[in-house]
C-alpha cells in the first residue's frame, strides 16, 4: 500500500508524460498572456530595452481614431456575423439532418468552404469580388436589373472593395460560408435528441415548427451557447485574415479591425508596448462576452424551471 500524500513511481511517470504539454502551455500560452500586462506600460521596439511610460499607451489609445474605429468595426462585425453564423449553422443542421439518399454528400458539401486554407479562401473571395472579372460584381448588376447602379446603398456594381460599407459587407459575407464546425456540432447534438420526444409532441398535436421551437431549440441551447462563444472569438480572428489579404484594412480604414491594427502596430511600426495595451482590450472584450453569455445562460435556465 502506498502512503497517502506520497507520489508513486507510476504517478511520476505520468507527470513526466505530461511535462512537454505543461511546459508548452506555460511557454506558448501562459507567459505570452501574462507578458502583455507589463509591456503595456512601456515603450518597446523589441530591439532596445523597454522604457517605462506609465499610462501613456492607454492615454494614446483613447485619443487614437484608428483604435476607436477599429474597435467599433470589430464589434459591429461580431454583432452582425455571429448571430448569422450561428443561425446559419442551425438552419443547415435542421435542413440536412434527414436520413435520405444523398444527404450524406450534401452534409459534406456544406462543410467544404470551412476546410479551405485561409489564404485560398481569401483569394477566392478576392476573385469573386474583383471589379473587372469577379462573378459577384456581375451578380450585383443582375440584382439591379442591369440599369440601376448597385444593390447596396451607396455602391456601384463591382466596387465591393472600394466602398467602405460594401467592403464591410463583403467581409461579413466571407464569414457566412465557413460555418462547417458549428454545423457538425449542432448535427451531432440533434442526433442525441430522443425521437420519442417528437413522437409525444406529435401526439399532443404540436406541428413541425412548434416542435422545433419547444423541443429542438431548448435542447440545443447549451451547444448554441458554446458555438456563440467560439464564433465570437473566431470572427475576430477571421476578420484579420480578410483584412490582410482581401481588403488590406481599407478602404479608408473601414476594415482595419482591432486585430489588424494591433498587428500593424507591432510588426510594421515596432510599437510593441502600444500593441500590448490594445491586446488588453481584446482580453477585456473576450472576458465580458464570456460573462454575459453565461449570465444569459443562467437566467434562461431559471426561466425554464419556473415555466
Amino acid at each position: 500500500m502506498r502512503a497517502v500524500g506520497r507520489v508513486s513511481a507510476y504517478q511520476w511517470q505520468l507527470l513526466a508524460m505530461l511535462a512537454p504539454y505543461l511546459l508548452g502551455l506555460l511557454a506558448l500560452v501562459g507567459v505570452p498572456a501574462l507578458l502583455a500586462a507589463p509591456i503595456a506600460f512601456t515603450r518597446f521596439d523589441a530591439l532596445s530595452p523597454p522604457v517605462p511610460v506609465g499610462l501613456d499607451n492607454f492615454a494614446e489609445m483613447l485619443a487614437d481614431p484608428q483604435f476607436r474605429s477599429g474597435l467599433g468595426e470589430s464589434l459591429l462585425l461580431v454583432a452582425v456575423a455571429v448571430p448569422l453564423r450561428v443561425g446559419g449553422a442551425l438552419a443547415l443542421a435542421l435542413l440536412l439532418q434527414a436520413r435520405q439518399r444523398g444527404f450524406t454528400l450534401l452534409r459534406g458539401l456544406a462543410y467544404l468552404p470551412t476546410i479551405l486554407p485561409d489564404v485560398a479562401y481569401a483569394l477566392v473571395w478576392l476573385y469573386l469580388l474583383n471589379p473587372l472579372y469577379g462573378p459577384l460584381s456581375s451578380l450585383s448588376q443582375i440584382f439591379a436589373g442591369g440599369e440601376h447602379e448597385g444593390t447596396l446603398p451607396g455602391t456601384t456594381p463591382g466596387v465591393w472593395l472600394s466602398n467602405p460599407q460594401a467592403a464591410q459587407v463583403a467581409v461579413m459575407l466571407m464569414l457566412l460560408f465557413t460555418v462547417g464546425e458549428g454545423f457538425v456540432l449542432l448535427l451531432a447534438t440533434l442526433q442525441e435528441i430522443p425521437p420519442d420526444l417528437y413522437e409525444a409532441a406529435a401526439l399532443d398535436g404540436a406541428a413541425g415548427d412548434q416542435q422545433v421551437r419547444y423541443i429542438t431549440i431548448p435542447l440545443l441551447a447549451p451547444s448554441l451557447l458554446l458555438l456563440t462563444l467560439r464564433d465570437t472569438i473566431f470572427s475576430f480572428q477571421a476578420s484579420f485574415v480578410a483584412a490582410v489579404i482581401v481588403t488590406r484594412g481599407g478602404p479608408h480604414y473601414a476594415t482595419t479591425y482591432l486585430p489588424y491594427w494591433i498587428y500593424q502596430n507591432a510588426t510594421e511600426f515596432s510599437r510593441f508596448g502600444y500593441a500590448a495595451a490594445m491586446t488588453w482590450v481584446l482580453y477585456a472584450i473576450t472576458a465580458v462576452i464570456i460573462v454575459l453569455l453565461f449570465r444569459l445562460a443562467r437566467r434562461w435556465r431559471e426561466v425554464q424551471y419556473v415555466g
Partner: protein, 289 residues
C-alpha cells in the same frame, strides 16, 4: 379533401412530420432546398477550379462563366516559375512531417497521463486546458513573438513547429484524454500488476485502442499546419523558410489581377486538404446508429 384524409392519418405513421398539406409539399421542397443550399457551398470552390484552367490571353468573361471556352493547365507550371513555390511547398511538407508526428506523440502522452491522474489534479488540469482554449489566439501573437525572440527561434522554421511541443492545441490533448478515459480501467490495472510501467502501457495497450482519436487528431493537425498562414506571417522574415500559404500570398502581391494564375495557386494549396477531407468525410458526415 386530401387535406382531411391526411389529417385522419394516425400520427404514429409519421411521427415528427408536419401535419396536413405540409406533408404533401414539404418533402419535395425540403429536397430541393437541401440540394440548392448544398450546391451554394460548392460554388466558390467550383469557380476557383474553373478559373484556374483559363488560358492567358483570352478576353475576360465579364459575367457568369462556369467553364472558360478553352481549358488549359498552363497556369499551374507558371506559379512555380514566378516564385520559388516548389521550395515553399517543400517547407510546408517538412513542417507537417515534423509537427504532426510530434503532436501525436506529445498530445497522446499528455492525454494518457491526464486520463489517469487523481481526480483533483485531473480536473484542475482540464480546467487549465479549457481556459487556454478560450484565450483568443490573436491576443497571444505579439507576446509570443517576444517569447520566440527570447529563446532564439524567431525567424527559423522552429517557430512554425513550436506548438507541437504542447500537442498543438489543448483541444487535441482533451480529445486524447477522453479517448483514453473510455478504455476500461481494468486493462491498465492488469498491466500494472504484471509490472508494466506507464510508458509501456501507453505504447502497447492504450495507443492501439484509441485509433479513431489518433486519426482525428492527425487529420486536424495536418490541416492546421498545412493551412497555417499567421505563424509564418508573424514569425518569419527569411523567405527561404516560407511555407505555401505565405508563398501564395506573395504570389498575389506580385500578380494582383492575374486571376487564373492566382486561382491555380489556391487550387494547389487546397488540393491536399481536400484530398484528406474526401478520405475522412465518410467518417465525419455519416449519422450514427
Amino acid at each position: 379533401m386530401l387535406d382531411d384524409v391526411i389529417q385522419e392519418l394516425p400520427a404514429e405513421l409519421a411521427p415528427g412530420l408536419p401535419r396536413g398539406w405540409e406533408r404533401v409539399w414539404w418533402p419535395p421542397l425540403h429536397y430541393a432546398l437541401a440540394v440548392l443550399v448544398g450546391g451554394l457551398f460548392v460554388v466558390p470552390l467550383a469557380w476557383m477550379a474553373s478559373t484556374s484552367l483559363r488560358p492567358a490571353g483570352i478576353p475576360a468573361a465579364g459575367g457568369f462563366e462556369w467553364l472558360p471556352p478553352v481549358l488549359s493547365l498552363a497556369n499551374y507550371p507558371r506559379i512555380f516559375s514566378a516564385l520559388p513555390l516548389g521550395r515553399y511547398l517543400g517547407n510546408s511538407i517538412l513542417v507537417v512531417a515534423v509537427a504532426v508526428p510530434l503532436t501525436l506523440l506529445t498530445g497522446s502522452l499528455a492525454g494518457f497521463a491526464l486520463a489517469q491522474l487523481p481526480a483533483r489534479l485531473r480536473n484542475g488540469l482540464v480546467g487549465v486546458s479549457v481556459a487556454a482554449l478560450l484565450v483568443p489566439a490573436m491576443a497571444l501573437w505579439i507576446t509570443r513573438f517576444l517569447v520566440y525572440k527570447a529563446i532564439g527561434i524567431l525567424d527559423t522554421p522552429l517557430a512554425l513547429i513550436a506548438p507541437a511541443i504542447m500537442g498543438t492545441s489543448p483541444l487535441y490533448v482533451l480529445i486524447f484524454a477522453w479517448a483514453f478515459a473510455r478504455v476500461p480501467r481494468d486493462l491498465y490495472e492488469q498491466a500494472r500488476l504484471d509490472g508494466a510501467g506507464a510508458w509501456r502501457i501507453w505504447w502497447t495497450i492504450a495507443l492501439p485502442l484509441v485509433r479513431p482519436a489518433i486519426t482525428a487528431v492527425a487529420i486536424l493537425a495536418t490541416v492546421a499546419y498545412w493551412s497555417d498562414f499567421i505563424s509564418p506571417l508573424l514569425y518569419l522574415n527569411n523567405q527561404a523558410y516560407y511555407t505555401l500559404p505565405v508563398g501564395i500570398q506573395a504570389l498575389q502581391q506580385m500578380n494582383r489581377t492575374n486571376w487564373p494564375v492566382l486561382m491555380a495557386g489556391a487550387v494547389v494549396l487546397t488540393a491536399p486538404v481536400l484530398g484528406l477531407f474526401l478520405v475522412a468525410q465518410r467518417f465525419f458526415f455519416r449519422l450514427g446508429r
